[in-house]
């Protein structure tokens, strides 16, 4: 149980899917035009992740290796269709119409398939569910943060409540897709900068997370130069 809890916590911060693993950037950039949209997208993904992780870790032992990816996709698609119908029925219409096509696209979100392949197929159901919830919450956290920042920079409001009331002209770059790239980049840079400073202060060597690590990337052959 303690282990399962640890699995959950690591998804929220240490292995945050957006800020550390850099997975699922398409929904991250496309749906975060406001904080509420980001939060709704994050929660929908969390439900899919927890459900698909549970089922996949249960059936992983009997799925033939050759067709495991299509089988996983079918499982994920089932959960996404269910979430889509439930959201259409019970979520506020404004949220559903804003997220629109991005809900079905959770099927091809790398985080969901990535966790199925890398974690759920190798671990027991309980740990897998907690991993799914943790990853989902990490995703929601990152999306809400990015959404709130974009909403604030573009209109001066957060969760549709205007904080700076004299802000009358929208700054459209932040709410459009290019602004999303810029702001996500700034967040990533800031996170790495502070993590590095903390590591140096503690007298440790800073090892960037695998996704952002210069050494694990083979493009500029940094390994060979050293």
């Amino acid at each position: 149980m303690k282990k399962a809890f640890k699995d959950m916590l690591k998804g929220i911060w240490k292995e945050n899917p957006v800020l550390v693993l850099l997975l699922g950037t398409c929904p991250t950039l496309a749906t975060t035009s406001s904080a509420a949209n980001g939060l709704a997208m994050g929660l929908a993904t969390t439900c899919v992740l927890a459900g698909s992780n549970l089922v996949i870790s249960c059936i992983a032992g009997i799925v033939p290796k050759k067709i495991r990816i299509p089988v996983y996709i079918v499982v994920i698609a089932t959960f996404v269709s269910a979430v889509d119908m439930l959201m259409k029925a019970y979520s506020p219409p404004a949220i559903y119409s804003a997220l629109g096509i991005f809900i079905p696209l959770i099927v091809v979100n790398c985080i969901v398939l990535g966790r199925a392949e890398a974690f759920a197929s190798k671990n027991n159901p309980v740990r897998s569910v907690f991993d799914g919830i943790g990853m989902g919450l990490g995703f929601s956290l990152a999306l809400t943060m990015l959404g709130a920042l974009r909403e604030f920079i573009s209109t001066g409001s957060v969760f549709e409540v205007k904080i700076i009331t004299c802000w009358t002209t929208d700054f459209l770059l932040a709410s459009a897709a290019p602004g999303a790239f810029v702001i996500l980049g700034v967040i990533l840079a800031a996170k790495n900068h502070f993590a590095r400073r903390a590591a140096i202060k503690a007298g440790k060597l800073y090892v960037p997370p695998a996704g952002l690590d210069c050494h694990s990337c083979q493009i500029c052959k940094l390994n060979e130069k050293e």
């Binding site: 032992g61 033939p64 079918v74 439930l86 409540v161 205007k162 929208d170 459209l172 709410s175």
Partner: protein, 222 residues
């Protein structure tokens, strides 16, 4: 079990995939059954909410149940909904879809009185650019930290572009244009396409109503 895991024969793999898909369909069908009624209810509620905002006179029928579909002179899909009180025709709610938005369809719903005068215009479906084209379409009271806990003002939230149609009657022949195209209607700079789409949708709604108003007048005491 390990046998199945290492299995590579095509029929077995095919059967496995088929069974997976079948199970998935079996799981999804009850979810579909369960959510069908709430989805319809949600759509009806959204519909009724928009009808309430159209400044229509009091009515007691379900306008969307008596709706009739037409193709307008400009080839737009137009739905005319008669608004009745105690069986007597009071006004019309007209839905019109312009395909020429910046990002797909722009659907407007407008209230018309029996003389064809526009009571209110509402954009009911759009995917225009947030913060630019969407400003042409949205009627929303802005929440701020100062009025967060105050009750919301009643009535139709203002929108300069949509409000300019109110009280006007769509002409029979000439078409409505925004100022940039030599017409008389204001538009939002940077969102001309959206402004044009909204103007055209309102115009087509009015023209279709002119042509087909008689269909609803039958059996009415004059």
């Amino acid at each position: 079990m390990t046998k199945l895991r290492e299995n590579e024969s095509v029929p077995v793999l095919g059967a496995f995939l088929g069974i997976t898909a079948l199970v998935s369909a079996l799981v999804l069908s009850p979810v579909f059954m369960l959510t069908r009624a709430p989805i319809e209810k949600m759509q009806r509620e959204t519909m009724q909410k928009s009808l309430k905002m159209l400044n229509l006179p009091l009515f007691d029928n379900a306008p969307d149940r008596e709706a009739k579909e037409y193709i307008s002179p400009g080839n737009f899909k137009v739905v005319i909904m008669p608004v009745r009180k105690a069986g007597a025709l009071k006004a019309f709610a007209v839905r019109s879809v312009s395909p020429d938005g910046y990002a797909g369809d722009v659907e407007i719903t407008a209230g018309f009185d029996l003389a064809g005068k526009i009571l209110a215009v509402l954009v009911t479906r759009q995917q225009e650019t947030p913060g630019l084209g969407s400003n042409v379409c949205e009627r929303k009271f802005r929440k701020t930290i100062f009025n967060l806990f105050q009750p919301r003002p009643v009535g139709l939230p203002p929108n300069h572009i949509l409000d300019q149609f109110h009280g006007k009657t769509v002409p029979e022949k000439e078409s409505w244009k925004v100022k940039r195209d030599g017409g008389s209607f204001d538009f939002v700079t940077g969102a001309t396409i959206t402004s044009r789409a909204v103007t055209a949708a309102v115009e087509q709604a009015g023209k279709t109503l002119r042509l087909h108003m008689e269909d609803f007048m039958k059996g009415e005491k004059k």
